[in-house]
């Protein structure tokens, strides 16, 4: 898929499905046929509709939930085929931050205990060094040392999310999977976290899989952006091009829905209709019921992924799933 550079992470045709609760057991496909590549020190952003499968994809990559089929290759090794010990070792290199910071912070541990836990676990440094590493990580995320002795419930939402990021940093990972790490932060701290992530990438060579709703943050951070809708990546492109020249009708709707910080600016456009159900996906293109540009075959034939590099001036590695581009 790429141009020769060895990838840090390669995902091929990944499918994730859940058994849902209730009297009638049914299968819900949360991730459908997803392929992506992340280069060392690359920042890959995943955006898309609520419930479209972003978290499921992230968790399947992290091997926190099983995948139904497909491949996940990290540093040349297949993660799903690893045993428990190998996976534990690999976790040093792939860290995670979740949407809900409370899930990465234990309620009964102080922030210091939480930060030194992975160091104890991987036997990194002496006791004193571990505390220094923890203090350094807190400083990196802009929390002062007085937070060390606090418990998670004694922090504000934004402070908790930064503590979770600090925890991910202490084992010096190669990849951080960050599921909406900045959504609960205000603009000034978001700007700092954005700067921080760019710094970590530049100085420490850490790559990121960055799930976010905040398109302005994605625009500043990402090299590559993928847009997800009902389990599929409907568009994947270099970040600059995705924002300046979006090719998929859903991506265009997404960009029009951003509220602009100017009361005189026209109100965000609300997309017509409801998102489809992942339990009973529509036939044809999953976006066809809401698509302003649909053509006849959209309601019956599911579009495959096509590379549109070169078409209408687009760069390499720009891929979409849409019939409009299939000619």
């Amino acid at each position: 898929m790429s141009n020769g550079t060895p990838e840090l992470l390669s995902v091929r045709n990944l499918v994730v499905a859940y058994e849902t609760s209730g009297h009638v057991k049914s299968r819900l496909t949360a991730v459908q046929d997803v392929s992506l590549d992340i280069a060392p020190a690359g920042i890959f952003a995943l955006v898309g509709e609520s419930g479209s499968g972003k978290t499921s994809l992230a968790r399947a990559i992290l091997q926190l939930i099983p995948s139904a089929s497909g491949q996940v290759i990290f540093c040349g090794k297949s993660l799903p085929e690893m045993n428990k010990t190998q996976l534990r070792e690999a976790r040093r290199d792939i860290q995670a931050i979740f949407q809900d910071p409370l899930s990465s912070l234990s309620p009964r541990r102080t922030i210091l205990q939480t930060l030194t836990e992975p160091l104890d676990h991987f036997r990194i440094g002496t006791g004193k060094e571990r505390i220094d590493i923890a203090a350094g990580a807190l400083e990196t995320v802009g929390l002062d040392n007085s937070m060390m002795q606090r418990f998670p419930h004694e922090l504000s939402g934004g402070q908790r999310q930064r503590a979770a990021l600090a925890r991910a940093l202490v084992s010096k990972p190669k990849l951080i999977v960050a599921d909406e790490p900045v959504s609960s932060l205000d603009a000034s701290i978001q700007a700092r976290v954005v700067e921080l992530i760019l710094n970590l990438r530049d100085k420490q060579g850490i790559a990121f899989l960055f799930v976010s709703h905040d398109l302005s943050v994605v625009r500043q951070l990402a090299d590559t952006v993928a847009v997800m809708y009902l389990g599929r990546l409907v568009e994947t492109a270099p970040a600059r091009e995705l924002f300046s020249n979006p090719a998929h009708p859903y991506t265009r709707s997404l960009l029009r829905a951003v509220p602009i910080a100017d009361p005189l600016h026209p109100a965000p456009v609300v997309l017509d209709g409801e998102p489809p159900s992942a339990l009973t996906p529509p036939t044809g293109c999953v976006f066809h019921m809401r698509c302003p540009d649909r053509i006849e075959r959209c309601s019956s034939v599911e579009p495959g992924q096509v590379n549109i590099s070169g078409k209408e001036g687009r760069q390499e590695n720009h891929r979409v799933r849409c019939h409009l581009w299939n000619s």
Partner: protein, 269 residues
């Protein structure tokens, strides 16, 4: 009768929250006063840790006793004084007169009950509906916050929904009883912008149609500009500016407001 005097749905006077932290007293909310007018959407903005959530919890009577002390000259909803109200009576007010949408929805939903049973119980308790009526109302409410497969959501447990879906459930539950006041703490941070646009349009519509007033806590100045009527700007526990939204953006008075606007502009370009 004087015409057109805006009635206040919520009026807060001299609200202070003090937190005991290692033999220090921190005033995380420091003597704030404001009015929320009937049917308006009032933004509360300010940087992380400035005391927005604590303000909301204090009004709701939800600051845990061991973590903080709330003092207020007055917190009124219409003619009802909440500042001196015992917890038992507060419980009657919460959900019916005033409800809150939390920043972290996972902590607000009960993991052991299905969404359907949690939603229905709100309708049964506060609106005294029968089991069948409550189920019907719940399905309608879920549809109104943008779910296509309401029956599946009803059967689901919180962990089976995505973060954004849980947040929409919380918004639906808060809207269920058409309360006089809704306090929404960063209600859409877990939502993508298309769902956010849909949910905020519905939430603010509800306000305008039923007269529900909304105190919308957010750090997104785009949301302030596009969905709110007025705004309170908070910094270090104090309200430093209160203004109509148009004025806030064109003529910010306080230096802190100006720095917030500048930070947002930096992010948006």
């Amino acid at each position: 009768m004087t015409s057109q005097t805006p009635v206040d749905a919520l009026s807060v006077r001299g609200l202070t929250v003090t937190i005991q932290q290692e033999s220090q007293h921190l005033r995380v909310v420091d003597g704030i006063s404001f009015n929320l007018r009937s049917g308006e959407v009032l933004a509360l903005v300010g940087e992380s840790g400035c005391g927005k959530t604590k303000t909301a919890e204090a009004i709701m009577g939800l600051v845990p006793r061991d973590s903080g002390v709330v003092q207020a000259t007055s917190i009124r909803i219409g003619d009802t004084e909440l500042a001196v109200m015992p917890e038992a009576a507060m419980r009657q007010i919460r959900g019916r007169e005033i409800s809150m949408i939390f920043q972290e929805p996972l902590t607000a939903l009960d993991p052991v009950f299905s969404i359907g049973s949690q939603m229905s119980s709100v309708f049964r308790r506060h609106r005294k509906q029968s089991r069948t009526q409550a189920r019907q109302s719940s399905l309608e409410m879920l549809a109104s916050v943008g779910f296509p497969d309401t029956a599946r959501v009803m059967r689901s447990y919180p962990h089976e929904l995505s973060g954004g879906m849980r947040q929409r459930v919380m918004i639906g539950m808060a809207m269920a009883c058409k309360p006089r006041v809704i306090i929404a703490d960063e209600p859409t941070t877990a939502l993508d912008v298309t769902t956010q646009a849909q949910v905020l349009a519905r939430l603010t519509d509800l306000g305008r149609k039923t007269g529900t007033s909304i105190l919308l806590i957010t750090h997104d100045l785009g949301i302030v500009a596009q969905y709110c009527d007025r705004a309170l700007v908070m910094s270090k526990g104090k309200i430093v500016e209160e203004a109509e939204v148009k004025q806030l953006f064109t003529r910010p008075a306080h230096p802190y407001t100006r720095s917030l606007l500048a930070a947002a502009a930096g992010i948006n370009d």
